[in-house]
Every structure is written in structure tokens, then in C-alpha cells.
């Protein structure tokens, strides 16, 4: 579920509610914006700008668009030395995750240049920055199941993000609550999401492999890329997060239904 269903009330029809909600298709998935502060028209303008940013990212980074910069690099029509600042930024993030994960993460899955594995999370974190530039302080953005929040939802309530059970979508395996008004990033990588950026798929030996792993941190660019790497590491993923990633906690769900958490994850659980 990517939009808030909690606490819906009948609005005063003649009065504009504050904030703005919107779902936008982009990058082959859906991005849901949920801004809780600002006047409705200001919030809508903020979301407009963030949506424009996402489409710009898609135009530049899509491996499916022949005219994208990524396709030009993949086809050898453009050298990385001539890369745009945006592509350089993404590549630098990808290199960092690749080094940190001992190569579990790669920008050349199946031998072809494709940094998609880091683009979405990065794009969402930047979209959040666009909202902040427009004055928003309370919002969430969910892009295909990866979430960036900021602030509280209302004066007193913190964002609560459900984590779906990879084996049974009727269940949530957990609900995490933003520990503060600071940004929170929640990214899940798993069997449902077979990204081209994972070329080392964990063994799915009987009950052994990971079904999904969810990482929680502050910035989605880093957290999403690390979730991908952690999933690629299979059963070592959780330990890797614990040992190597500061300020990031993880919840792993095995194919056998068992769950395991990093030491700090229980502190994030709601309820």
C-alpha cells in the first residue's frame, strides 16, 4: 500500500485540506507523494516540481530509452569522462556501495552498463529535497515500495511504515515508526523485485535463502542501494548491515518465514 488509508475522515468539502497527495507513474513504477503540511496549492506546486525532477531522471537514466545518457554510455556512444554531473553523482554512490559490499552490487549487471540499482532511491531522496526547497517539512514519498519520510504526519504522530510479508501479502511482518522528525528511509529488496542490478542471486536452497530484506536509515539513496546489495549477499546480508553500515538497521525475512533483525531494529518497531 503506498498511500495513507489511516484516519480518513470526511473533509469539509468546501475547504481545501492542507497538503497534497499524488500518485505518478515513472520509471516503470509508481511514486506516491503524501505532503501533510503547506497550503494545498503550495504543496501541489512542490509535488509538481518533484515530479518533474523524477521524469528528468527517467529521461537521463532509463536503460530502456535509446536517447538516454545511460543508453549512450552503454552503447559506447558516450564516454564516462563526459558524463553529466547527475550521472557522476550516481556512479560515485554506486562505486561506494560496490566497494562497501565487496562487489555484491554492480553497475554492470549482465555485462551491460546499467546503474538502475541506485537511481530510484537517489531520485526519491532528491525529490524529497525538492519538496523541502518548496517549504515542505512533513511528507512521505513512496516509489515502488521504497519510502522516504520527513517530519511528523501531524503535530504529534510519527510516520508508520508497514513492511509487507514477502510470502503472504495479507500480512505485514512489521511496522516501523520514524524514531524522530528527522528523515527516515525504508527500502525493501526481495524476490518480488528482480532488478537487473542484482546479478548474484542468492541460492534458494530449501528454506535457506532470503525472501526479502528491509533496511531503515535516513537517506534513501544510500539505504536503497544497500538494500539491493544486502539482498544480493543472501544470508550474509543481515550480518553485513550490522557490521558495516552505521546508522542503518535491517529486518530479514527468510524463505522459510523466519525473521531476523539487527540489534537496533526492535527499537524502530511501532506498537
Amino acid at each position: 500500500m503506498t498511500t495513507p488509508l489511516a484516519g480518513f475522515r470526511l473533509a469539509h468539502p468546501q475547504r481545501l485540506a492542507p497538503g497534497h497527495r499524488r500518485a505518478e507513474e515513472c520509471m516503470g513504477t509508481v511514486f506516491s507523494f503524501d505532503v501533510r503540511d503547506l497550503d494545498a496549492d503550495v504543496a501541489a506546486a512542490a509535488v509538481d516540481a518533484a515530479v518533474r525532477w523524477l521524469h528528468d531522471v527517467d529521461a537521463r537514466f532509463s536503460p530502456y530509452r535509446p536517447d538516454s545518457e545511460v543508453s549512450a554510455v552503454a552503447d559506447g556512444r558516450r564516454q564516462l569522462a563526459d558524463a553529466s554531473p547527475q550521472l557522476r553523482e550516481v556512479l560515485s554512490l554506486a562505486a561506494e556501495v560496490a566497494a562497501m559490499s565487496d562487489g555484491a552490487f554492480t553497475t554492470t549487471p549482465f555485462g551491460r552498463f546499467d546503474p538502475s540499482g541506485v537511481v530510484k532511491g537517489w531520485a526519491i531522496e532528491r525529490a524529497a529535497a525538492v519538496l523541502v526547497e518548496h517549504g515542505a517539512q512533513r511528507f512521505s514519498i513512496n516509489g515502488g515500495g521504497d519510502v522516504q519520510t520527513r517530519g511528523f504526519t501531524t503535530a504529534a504522530r510519527r510516520w508508520q511504515i508497514g513492511i509487507s510479508d514477502p510470502a503472504d501479502r495479507s500480512r505485514l511482518v512489521a511496522v516501523v515508526r520514524a524514531p524522530s522528525a528527522e528523515p527516515m528511509a525504508v527500502a525493501t529488496s526481495g524476490t518480488a523485485e528482480r532488478g537487473a542490478h542484482i546479478d548474484r542471486v542468492p541460492d534458494d536452497g530449501a528454506g535457506g535463502g532470503l525472501a526479502s530484506i528491509t533496511l531503515v536509515g535516513t537517506g534513501l539513496a544510500w539505504v536503497d542501494a544497500c538494500a539491493t546489495a544486502a539482498y544480493a549477499k543472501g544470508e550474509d546480508g543481515l550480518r553485513w548491515v550490522e557490521k558495516r553500515l552505521d546508522g542503518v538497521e535491517a529486518l530479514a525475512v527468510g524463505r522459510d518465514g523466519r525473521t531476523a533483525m539487527t540489534a537496533g531494529f526492535p527499537g524502530l518497531l511501532a506498537g
Partner: protein, 158 residues
Amino acid sequence: MKRVVLALVSTVTGLVMLLGFKTHSTAAPVALGSTGTSSTGTGSTGSTGGATSAGPSAPGTTTSKIRTVNGHAAHTPYGPVQVQVQLSGSKITNVQVLQHPTASGQDQQINGYALPILINETMTVQSAHIDSVSGATYTSDGYIRSLQGALDQAGITR
């Protein structure tokens, strides 16, 4: 140094029960649209206008009025998804899926379990406090968008 807590909480069922989430299937007012009702699917703009219709309840009675609202057909990479909600006041009392992807056997398999679950989530989550969910799917995104459209039309907001 931190240690990994191998909290083998089996399936965390306890936690989920604690939070009051129902499991699927039981008593869900599911009415998956049969293949016969699927749309023409020609729209390239991604949506068709939704329609609001008067509820079936008798006007002016003491029972709260049931309103029926159709969401727009939300397009997903697998095909359109459209839901219809029934509301009593601001409470969702029923959700039906009018359209869902049926192009392949796999679609039907996916929708056979995913959509009833989403419906159940809608019914339960409205009383829980979940703002968003990590680990969603294309189909669920389409469902959510159509549902959101229906709620917007009904004037339901936070």
C-alpha cells in the same frame, strides 16, 4: 560491537496479531471482476473518469447512507486495475475490484491472491495507523491509485 539478534520470531505472527491485522480470505467482501467485465483498455492517458452513483439505501432513513464510488482505471505494466468502494459516512464498508489484469495465467494467479489481500488490507488498515508500505507491487500500486481516486471523489481525506 553490536551483535546480530537472531530473533527467530517465526513469522512474527504474534506481532501482526497484536497490531490487529487480519489474515486473508475470511469474510472479505471480495468480488473480483470476472473476465467478462474487463475494460476495452484502449486509454493511453492512463485513466478514465470515475463515476459516483447514489447508494442503494433509502433516502431520509435513519440508517447511514451507503455511497458507491468508482475509482478510475489505473494502468499498470500488467494492465488496468479499477476498484469500486462503498462508504458509510467516511468508513469504507466494501471494496470491489471492477477490472484487473487478466492477460496471462500468471496475472490471474497473482490477482487471485493479491487483490483479495489488498481489499482486506484496505478494510483493516483504515482502522490502523499505517501511512505507507515498503515492498509493494505493480498491481498493488494500481489498486491503490484507483482506490485513492475513489476516495478523493468521495471527499474522503485525512
